[in-house]
């Protein structure tokens, strides 16, 4: 019962519309199957995370899991609170390791691409 009550509670800070960032998130290498078979997702995401800090890639991954992914197989995207091994993140077509990985702060207009490695041949 308590879960139903929680769900009916109005969302927090509804009075102040949160500023949002427009970004494009893309999935390829089979990951799109976890995201409604859609490769390209133009998204509006909050500028800050729960702690009020600028939104990072780590926050974006959480956001995608909670809001964008309809598939139940979360473990094919996130394992132990981190991106599953075998998935590359490209920030504006560059390896996220060139940009600070999970700590990278997302900017308006960013293109974030998630690529699952393929093994077939």
């Amino acid at each position: 019962m308590s879960t139903i009550q929680a769900a009916e509670k109005p969302p927090e800070d509804i009075e102040i519309p949160k500023p949002e960032l427009s970004i494009v998130v893309e999935f390829t290498g089979g990951l799109e199957m976890l995201f409604s078979d859609q490769r390209r997702h133009p998204l509006s995401i909050p500028v800050t995370n729960k702690e009020g800090n600028p939104l990072t890639i780590a926050d974006l991954i959480e956001h995608l899991c909670n809001h964008t992914m309809k598939d139940t197989r979360k473990e094919l995207f996130v394992l132990d609170d981190h991106l599953r091994p075998g998935i590359l993140v490209l920030i504006n077509d560059a390896d996220w390791e060139l940009e600070g990985e999970e700590a990278y702060e997302i900017q308006a207009g960013d293109n974030i691409l998630f690529v699952s490695t393929l093994h077939g041949g």
Binding site: T72, G86, A94, E97, V115, L118, H119, G120, G121
Partner: protein, 486 residues
């Protein structure tokens, strides 16, 4: 049955033998018809010998670095700045190893043979199957059952007999890797599994060989040149290895093979052709043995993505350089040839193994034969859910089956009974009518059976819910041999 198989086997052997003889005859004829090829040519010339010296035309001695036939064979690429005579001579003195004679290896080998590399080695322990032919274009219907390596070499031999072909009729293993790879200058990873990809990368790091790696699945492909330049472990100017890019292997359950996921022939073909292209660029530009005294700058590698169905089919991504703490190529790496060769690195273990699903008790399952008897009997037949994807179901299914793709069940958030009504569970079906679940080979069907019970569809045991052991494959073996199995 047995005599037929025996006869077929004999015929296959006879064909293979005759083809070999035919090939031999063609080679003899070819040699007779182009006597110039038999001239002793000094192949040890360095590239400086390519400088033409006019006025010496009276000498009957052949004084050009390539044979006459080679000038006509390679003429179209010789006149390109990317290749030139220097590049062609480099190609001719280079040994390339192709690991995997499949969808990537076939086109890659064909173009490298055509371009005139000196030596082309091919590693593969598999035999040609009919399901390979739609994409593994060097094999042929008449060569089904032959070693892939021999089939590919035969194809390339027909394309360019000037190349020295080395068949390695085995899979690459930690034990044989050093012996095989050390004989080559450049390696192409044309395999299809993470275990081989990590092994190939490691041996290439240890032996300092550049590696052109590609992969494909469904309608997507990926290509990356690794270990370029192929510097020693810890050298700052070396290019990243496979482990730099993918330090941890993906969970075994997330790895989809071409057999399971499907693959479009031209997609994997494009990737194999691109591998050959990268190899030719590397060789013609001078790898390792390049006469350059200037140490090469580390090349920031790029990962090329190909998506056949995307509006932008090609996309190039800037990748990282060497990982400072890389297991294989960093200064702190403890990986050695000795360790690798001893087999103490278990690549299969490292990449994990999928275990067959086993979530149902024996009494929750029935065999294909038992289900056939239910269909033929008088009792209520109940419902049969076929949980394979629609494409599989559309090809062939058991009479009366309802298609409820597993992926839709997975996608549907938390399990709800509503998802299965009213189309699947119509009111006309009595509450006690059994439900049977079938999939491809009997894994997904167990999970779905378990899930349906958790949803309460079994009405606290009132309704029987079971899966068909072994799936459609068992149905084919036990009940309907005509069933096309995909």
């Amino acid at each position: 049955m047995d005599s037929v198989t025996n006869k077929a086997e004999q015929l296959r052997e006879k064909i293979a033998q005759t083809e070999k003889e035919l090939q031999n005859l063609r080679r003899q004829l070819n040699e007779l018809e182009s006597p110039i090829q038999n001239l002793d040519v000094d192949q040890g010339h360095s590239s400086t010998s390519t400088t033409k010296q006019p006025g010496e035309a009276s000498s009957p001695k052949w004084k050009w670095p390539l044979r006459e036939e080679e000038y006509s064979r390679y003429g179209r690429q010789l006149i390109l700045p990317t290749v030139g005579i220097k590049g062609q001579l480099r190609l001719k003195s280079t040994a390339v190893l192709i690991v995997g004679a499949g969808g990537l290896g076939c086109p890659a080998a064909a173009y490298l043979a055509g371009a005139g590399v000196g030596t082309l080695g091919v590693v593969d322990g598999d035999i040609v199957e009919t399901s390979n032919l739609h994409r593994q274009i060097a094999h042929s219907t008449s060569r089904v059952g032959m070693m892939k390596v021999d089939s590919l070499v035969e194809y390339c031999q027909g394309l360019n007999p000037n190349v020295t072909y080395v068949p390695h009729r085995e899979h690459l293993t930690p034990q044989n890797a050093e012996g095989i790879v050390s004989k080559y200058d450049l390696v192409l990873d044309c395999t299809d599994h993470p275990t081989s990809r990590y092994l190939i990368s490691d041996i290439c790091v240890l032996l300092q060989k550049p590696l052109v790696s590609a992969s494909a699945l469904r309608t997507d492909g990926q290509l990356i040149v690794l270990n370029n330049p192929a510097a020693a472990q810890g050298a700052a100017n070396g290019g990243p290895c496979y482990r730099c890019v993918f330090p941890k292997p993906p969970p075994a359950d997330s790895v989809v093979s071409c057999g399971e996921g499907g693959v479009l022939g031209p997609v994997v073909g494009v990737m194999g052709v691109l591998q050959a292209l990268e190899a030719i660029k590397l060789i013609a530009g001078g790898i390792g043995k390049a006469a350059g005294s200037d140490p090469k700058e580390p090349v920031a590698p790029s990962l090329l993505l190909f998506s056949a169905t995307s509006t932008t089919p090609f996309r190039s991504l800037r990748m990282r350089s060497r990982r400072p703490n890389c297991f294989a190529c960093s200064a702190g790496s403890t990986l050695t040839l000795k360790e690798l060769g001893s087999g103490s690195l278990d690549y299969v273990q490292f990449c994990g193994v999928t275990t067959p699903v086993n979530v149902l008790k024996p009494e929750e399952r029935i065999s294909a034969t038992e289900y056939k008897d239910i269909l033929a009997g008088k009792s209520h037949k109940g419902l049969l859910f076929d949980v394979r994807e629609k494409e599989h179901f559309d090809i062939a299914s058991i009479p009366g089956a309802v298609n409820v793709p597993f992926s839709i069940l997975q996608r549907h958030g938390r399990p709800t009974v509503g998802y299965l009504t009213p189309e699947h569970l119509s009111d006309t079906i009595p509450a006690e009518a059994p439900i049977y679940v079938v999939c491809r080979v009997g894994n997904d069907s167990q999970i779905v059976t378990r899930r349906l019970k958790e949803m309460g569809l079994d009405g606290n045991g009132e309704r029987d819910i079971r899966d068909i052991k072994g799936g459609m494959l068992a149905w084919k073996h036990e009940v309907d041999r005509t069933l096309p199995f995909t």
